[in-house]
Symmetry: C2
Subunit: 114 residues, 2 copies
């Protein structure tokens, strides 16, 4: 068993053309993960992750705040307590036009986190 | 893409010798899950899940409150914002001797959720 205070984990900060104002923590070491890896993200106000696609799925749980999630169905608002399933190979994007950070858990199969 | 307000999902309530005062929601349909399944649990005050073992791992994120997690290393207190990795085949238990419910996300490979 491993118990980790997520607060103490290293944060990767992304702020580029494609991924703006995003903080990421990898909760599970992908080298030790049997199947999947849990990560935690903060999408700060005015932050975004542009549309992208990959062969693996996401299961997302929104911990705090709200954001817009983009898909073929357009942009939908999600907020604390919501679950999102992004299918393998489904184009998706995230943006936070709101004034509070949006925090969420995002789980991927281990091949999705090198 | 699927977006679900977790509040609206069916709750299974467990209250037996082995699993006391536990609420469970399955966020991802195991029949549609490519790899893994996210679930949400509430371990109510004085609730517990007795020691058990299975061949699959858990990745757990504590959303609210605190609880004791039992393993070979004894009982350890975990609280909001903590991550727990339970290895495959590792005996583990949970109990909530506190006055507030403990809420947590628990992800398993899809074979762990029928």
């Amino acid at each position: 068993m491993e118990i980790i205070d997520v607060e103490n984990l290293k944060t990767e900060y992304f702020d580029n053309e494609n991924v703006r104002k995003v903080e990421k923590k990898v909760l599970m070491d992908p080298k030790k993960a049997p199947t999947f890896v849990m990560r935690k993200f903060i999408l700060n106000p005015r932050g975004y992750i542009l549309e992208h696609t990959h062969s693996w799925e996401h299961e997302i749980y929104v911990l705090k705040g709200k954001m817009l999630v983009g898909s073929r169905d357009g942009k939908q608002e999600v907020r604390e307590g919501m679950f999102i399933f992004v299918e393998p190979n489904e184009p998706h994007s995230y943006e936070n036009p709101f004034d509070e950070p949006c925090e969420f858990i995002c789980v991927v199969p281990k091949e999705g986190e090198r």
